[in-house]
């Protein structure tokens, strides 16, 4: 409980949540304001289309789309958390303030998570409408069709959101280890691409589906959401259907905590000049 108080309830760095609002949702630059209006307009149009054609849209596709967005939003909200401060030369002033490294890192991380939750909240009404309005095509499925439950949808959304948290945490770790915000963003996006696209493609191409691969695929958000979305799927070879949902959410959260704690432990990267990949001593 002491750690909870220190890092969350009594952490002055939670002001980062307000700063994130000011940066991403405030009226900062004219360009930013226009972008905000554009995003708002796109959302209104998309929501209108979804509501109008809700009976044809399966909610699971919205969860897929949301997860896809989180692969970009996660890195976007936390790529500059530490490296951006270093780049702008604001880091020293922050470190010289009466806050611990843990408070800085958790404040920044939670500030990013609030934006992820905000995006998730924008998706919620559309998920609800499509779930209750979707009509199964009898010509395609016949009488055999069984639909995923509302609880399954909640689990899918939970996996999607916690994957966003993980993406933000992983990016924060990279941010603590680099000196340029754009470098951090690049590394994070490449990492997302490798995990979400290259790795499954590699497995598919090599047709190597050993136990390790299946377990790793089980952690892949799109795979787990897909299993949850299809009640006919008995689950993966090494994971019974009943074990898909809450465990993945817990794993995503645990990985997120691990990445943030690791980031906190390596905050002195620039000062101590500790390299991410240790440099070989000169011959």
């Amino acid at each position: 409980m002491t750690a909870w108080r220190h890092l969350v309830t009594e952490n002055p760095m939670l002001v980062e949540i307000r700063r994130a609002q000011q940066r991403f949702l405030g009226r900062t630059r004219a360009g930013g304001q226009i972008a905000l209006y554009l995003v708002g307009a796109v959302y209104v149009v998309a929501a209108g289309v979804v509501v109008r054609y809700a009976q044809y849209i399966d909610a699971v596709w919205l969860v897929y789309f949301q997860t896809f967005l989180f692969a970009f939003i996660g890195p976007s909200v936390s790529h500059g958390a530490v490296s951006g401060e270093r780049e702008k030369r604001t880091w020293d002033m922050l470190v010289a303030a009466p806050v611990t490294a843990g408070q800085i890192v958790w404040g920044k991380y939670l500030g990013g998570c609030v934006l992820i939750l905000l995006v998730a909240a924008l998706f919620l009404p559309m998920l609800g409408v499509t779930y209750f309005s979707y009509e199964v095509n009898p010509y395609m499925w016949g009488d055999q069709y069984r639909r995923y439950t509302f609880w399954d949808l909640v689990m899918m959304d939970g996996i999607s959101i916690t994957f966003g948290f993980f993406a933000a945490a992983l990016t924060l770790l990279f941010s603590a280890r680099t000196k340029r915000a754009f470098v951090t963003l690049g590394i994070a996006l490449v990492a997302m691409f490798v995990v979400l696209v290259l790795y499954p493609l590699f497995l598919n191409a090599t047709r190597f589906v050993g136990a390790e691969s299946v377990i790793l695929l089980y952690f892949h958000p799109f795979v787990t959401i897909g299993v949850l979305a299809d009640p006919h799927d008995p689950g993966l070879e090494f994971a019974a259907r009943e074990w898909i949902g809450l465990p993945q959410i817990a794993i995503n959260l645990a990985l997120s905590v691990g990445a943030v704690v690791w980031a906190e432990k390596t905050l002195h990267f620039a000062d101590g000049d500790v390299k991410f990949i240790p440099r070989k001593p000169h011959a």
């Binding site: 900062t28 630059r29 303030a97």
Partner: protein, 309 residues
């Protein structure tokens, strides 16, 4: 009171700061002078608890920087040499952020922000975006940020760098005001004449050693055992130089192209007056006879060799 005792910092084989010791009292404005790489910034960063000293320590009002760095951070305001600001927010939002970080209660924040804006003469820019401020204003905003928690010690690393003359003058006034408020202000700078204008204490560091420390007047006067005297004549400067050389208390008189004779004089003021009387009596048409006052720059050049780590 700030007490710095035998502060040392070693990077591998390089000793960046070698046992620096000094003491400052509330209201002292301390000019920290040294070439690039002399150890000023390293010393300031150790005082700001950003760097862990290899040896020695410092105490601010009895609180040790090593034993209780968090308490020290509540008592200091630190402005780095190259600093940045969050440029995507408004001035008051920026200060509100720092007031929150320094745990100023929400009800007091508005008042504190107004006070520091007034002190730094930025009240009119309260709702301006940080990115729209001039360099001088950004410097003052950074100083305002250092003041939101009413610190007892201000560590200002090269605060005047990159400022135009007017901005420098405004900054100087602000630092003087902070000294009058009873704060200890440590200012590092290369601009020596400016430092001597507003600092009452000065320290000169070279290759990590504090080679001079004390009140500005004392350190300037204490350094010179002789006075530099400049004499201008309507006649031949070389003749005048020969005449000055006859005085055993005058050392190495030399005539410069402007017709002046400059020399060091070790005598008293009475003996100095006698010398002037003799020169006039010998027929030299003296139009100017004055004592050159040593300044901080002379002291700095005399005490240091320009060597860096």
């Amino acid at each position: 009171m700030l007490e710095v005792r035998e502060l040392r910092k070693v990077y591998g084989t390089l000793e960046a700061v070698r046992g620096v010791s000094f003491q400052l009292n509330p209201g002292d404005i301390f000019g920290f002078i040294g070439s690039n790489g002399a150890g000023k910034t390293t010393t300031i960063r150790m005082l700001a608890t950003l760097l862990e000293p290899t040896g020695g320590t410092a105490r601010l009002n009895g609180v040790d920087i090593l034993k209780d760095p968090m308490q020290i951070r509540r008592m200091i305001g630190y402005m780095p040499d190259f600093f940045g600001l969050y440029d995507d927010v408004k001035v008051w939002e920026y200060l509100d952020f720092w007031a929150t970080v320094y745990r100023i209660p929400p009800k007091q924040r508005g008042g504190v922000i107004d006070q520091v804006l007034e002190l730094t003469n930025l009240s009119g820019k309260r709702d301006a975006f940080v990115q729209s401020l001039s360099r001088g204003m950004q410097q003052r905003l950074c100083l305002a940020k250092c003041l939101v928690h009413d610190p007892e010690l201000l560590l200002l690393d090269e605060p005047a760098s990159g400022l135009d003359p007017r901005a420098r003058a405004e900054l100087k006034e602000l630092i003087l005001e902070l000294g009058r408020m009873g704060k200890i202000v440590v200012v590092s700078s290369h601009i020596l004449p400016e430092l001597s204008d507003f600092c009452n204490m000065v320290g000169i560091i070279e290759r990590g050693d504090l080679v001079g420390f004390g009140p500005v007047k004392q350190i300037v006067q204490g350094l010179r055992t002789t006075r530099a005297i400049s004499v201008r004549t309507l006649g031949e400067a070389n003749d005048l130089s020969d005449a000055v050389a006859k005085d055993p208390l005058a050392a190495s008189p030399r005539a410069n192209p402007e017709g002046e004779v400059v020399f060091d004089y070790a005598g008293t003021h009475e003996q100095q007056a006698d010398l002037l009387a003799r020169l006039i009596a010998e027929g030299h048409r003296i139009v100017d006879f004055r004592e050159e006052h040593a300044d901080l720059e002379d002291v700095f050049l005399k005490l240091t060799t320009g060597a860096v780590n």
